[in-house]
């Protein structure tokens, strides 16, 4: 028995750790068992193998475990170390503060509304139980569809959904029914992304599309005052600051409360501190565009100031800086609008795009209280227009340079 056990252990060790003799006679151990195992089963998944239909799935898991050792055979030799996998992972890391705060806040709002004792573990436990299923459903449904499409089209599985799958739960109310999350994720991935050719080809941001789908499909679970706190007693008012916008600034929580985030709302949008942390990480790593974030804020502030000047209704009199703190403005500006696929590529285009998002978001909020979340609609609208913005910016540049060349020619001819 003992002997068997040792034998088993040894074979296990041989499987994972291989000891080689290097050229200078030293012994070196390294983890190649797994690598060897993968190499052994690889032919089965290649063209003509038994499981050749699962090639994309196999490649996805292989590149998940090991950095691919393939090099380009022609063309570009030097590549950026930050490939798509790294980019996506940085965004996921940047989302973690908002996620953690969101989990805490879901529990906090629930405990607060029920009048329970504010015990930390009470809060976190409830928050985890409410939010984790949503995240799991979003990832499982989305990844299943991504893998299936990659398989059918013989593409590689892309990492794009790692971010989308986390963004979807973060922009939904905490206790949204899971079947709705599944439908919305499927809709967003199929109609929003795969129809256009997969990751990098989509016109609108898939995570926002999922939210818009739910917003228009099931308004009763996506708007109003009763959905933003999980398991809330009926008597407790669960209105978000945005819903109170119509009643003016006196009805709303203080700017400080909205900044640190102890307010009802979607999972990830409440704490501006957590969002700022994420924004700093994204900016330091050079992943998101500062131009877009800054111009959205400027656009929002400008529109807020215009409404302050008009001051026609109580909603217009709300101070301009409140708009940056309410609802999904900050979250959208940092994580949604900066999506490199759906935002313009040109520098000037990014500024136009950002300014218009800020302006439209505040305008929709103030002028049309039925569509409280103006940020979502503003970003989706500008997503659609971003290719046009790019086109105009480039065309203008071409015209300008042509003119300059002609002028130069004229000057030298004289």
């Amino acid at each position: 028995m003992q002997k068997n056990k040792t034998k088993f252990r040894r074979s296990l060790r041989d499987f994972f750790i291989v000891t080689d003799e290097t050229s200078d006679g030293k012994l070196r151990s390294h983890i190649t068992g797994l690598r060897r195992y993968i190499d052994k089963i690889k032919p089965n998944f290649m063209e003509g193998g038994r499981f050749s239909k699962l090639q994309s799935t196999f490649e996805a898991f292989e590149s998940f475990l090991f950095v691919p050792d393939e090099t380009t055979k022609c063309g570009v030799q030097i590549r950026d170390a930050v490939d798509m996998k790294r980019t996506m992972f940085f965004v996921v890391i940047a989302l973690i503060p908002t996620l953690l705060f969101g989990i805490w806040n879901v529990g906090y709002q629930h405990v607060l509304s029920c009048g329970d004792t504010l015990n930390f573990w009470n809060i976190i436990g409830f928050g985890l139980l409410t939010t984790l299923p949503t995240i799991v459903v979003s990832y499982v449904v989305g990844l299943a569809i991504e893998f299936a499409f990659a398989q059918i089209r013989h593409h590689q599985v892309n990492e794009g959904f790692l971010v989308t799958g986390l963004l979807i739960p973060l922009v939904l109310p905490p206790d949204i029914p899971l079947w709705m999350v599944a439908i919305a994720t499927a809709f967003a991935v199929i109609i929003g992304k795969e129809v256009f050719g997969g990751t990098g080809m989509n016109i609108v941001n898939p995570a926002l599309l999922a939210r818009a789908f739910l917003f228009f499909s099931y308004p009763s679970v996506m708007s109003g005052t009763s959905v933003w706190i999980a398991d809330k007693p009926d008597a407790f008012s669960g209105a978000t600051p945005l819903a109170l916008l119509e009643n003016g600034v006196s009805a709303m929580p203080s700017a400080w409360t909205m900044f640190w985030g102890g307010i009802p709302g979607s999972l990830g949008e409440t704490s501006k501190i957590a969002i700022l942390l994420g924004a700093i990480l994204l900016l330091v790593c050079g992943i998101a565009s500062l131009r877009i974030m800054a111009s959205i804020c400027i656009g929002g502030i400008a529109m807020g100031l215009v409404f302050n000047l008009i001051g026609g209704s109580t909603a217009m009199q709300v101070p301009f800086y409140y708009h940056l703190l309410m609802g999904g403005f900050a979250f959208g500006a940092v994580f949604m609008a900066t999506d490199p696929v759906t935002a313009p590529q040109t520098d000037r285009g990014k500024i136009i795009y950002g300014l218009l998002i800020g302006i439209f978001a505040v305008m929709i909020r103030v002028v049309n209280p039925a569509y409280a979340e103006g940020m979502m609609l503003a970003i989706l609208l500008m997503n659609v227009f971003s290719p046009l913005i790019d086109h105009c910016v480039i065309a203008k540049n071409i015209r300008m340079r042509k003119k300059r060349a002609i002028n130069h020619q004229k000057a030298t001819a004289k």
Binding site: W179, I191, V195, F216, S217, Y218, P219, S220, V221
Partner: protein, 206 residues
């Protein structure tokens, strides 16, 4: 009769006016929230395309080329008024639901498209069958779209509740987006997607 049956069945599949020619999409978005108006609309359009094709084909050698659109419009408009009056007389409630869209059959691209593309250059009987075929092809898509929109958007079919009460009790909700026109466009898109992947010859060469 092989030729005539082909004239009727082809537009149901490979030459479908909505999914392949992409004509008549506007009314497809407007009238497909429920099954009943969709079916009535499909029948009305079939009648109009069939008889306008027949009449224009009979007249085709006498119509001066420069004013042919006006002549076609007069014929189509007369037929549409007949259909409209008929609907008002016999199915008044559906006629009210369809409101302006019956009148707008005049501008339905399929009617004009078939007149220009087929009736002006073919014999009357063939044109008549071509009109019926294209009307049915249009109707088929209308019914498919309306089926999904009514089932998922209102939980009913032909006005009768289909989704059991127990579903609603368990938390199921009707999808309001299905009632809105954008979803009709998306369903038509999905139908086109399925059709094109089943008939590779419809796909453009890359």
């Amino acid at each position: 009769m092989g030729k005539f049956s082909k004239l009727i069945t082809e537009p149901l599949r490979k030459t479908n006016p909505i999914t392949v020619l992409v004509l008549g999409v506007c009314s497809c978005l407007a009238v497909t929230a429920k099954m009943k108006p969709a079916v009535v609309m499909a029948i009305s359009v079939t009648v109009v395309t069939a008889f306008s094709n027949l009449i224009i084909s009979l007249l085709r050698n006498g119509i001066p080329a420069r004013i042919r659109i006006i002549v076609q419009l007069v014929v189509v408009a007369a037929l549409v008024i007949l259909v409209d009056q008929f609907l008002k007389a016999f199915v008044y409630d559906v006629s009210k639901q369809l409101s302006v869209f019956v009148g707008l059959i005049i501008t339905n691209c399929i009617v004009m498209g078939r007149l220009e593309a087929y009736a002006m250059s073919h014999k009357p009987i063939e044109s008549f069958f071509d009109g019926i075929g294209n009307g049915l092809g249009y109707g088929l898509i209308l019914v498919i779209v309306a089926f999904f929109r009514e089932l998922l958007g209102s939980g009913s079919l032909w006005g009768f509740p289909i989704v059991p009460k127990a579903f609603y009790a368990a938390g199921y909700l009707n999808n309001s987006l299905m009632i809105l026109p954008p979803m009709a466009l998306i369903i038509v898109g999905i139908v086109i997607w399925i059709q094109r992947s089943r008939h590779p010859e419809l796909q453009e060469k890359k």
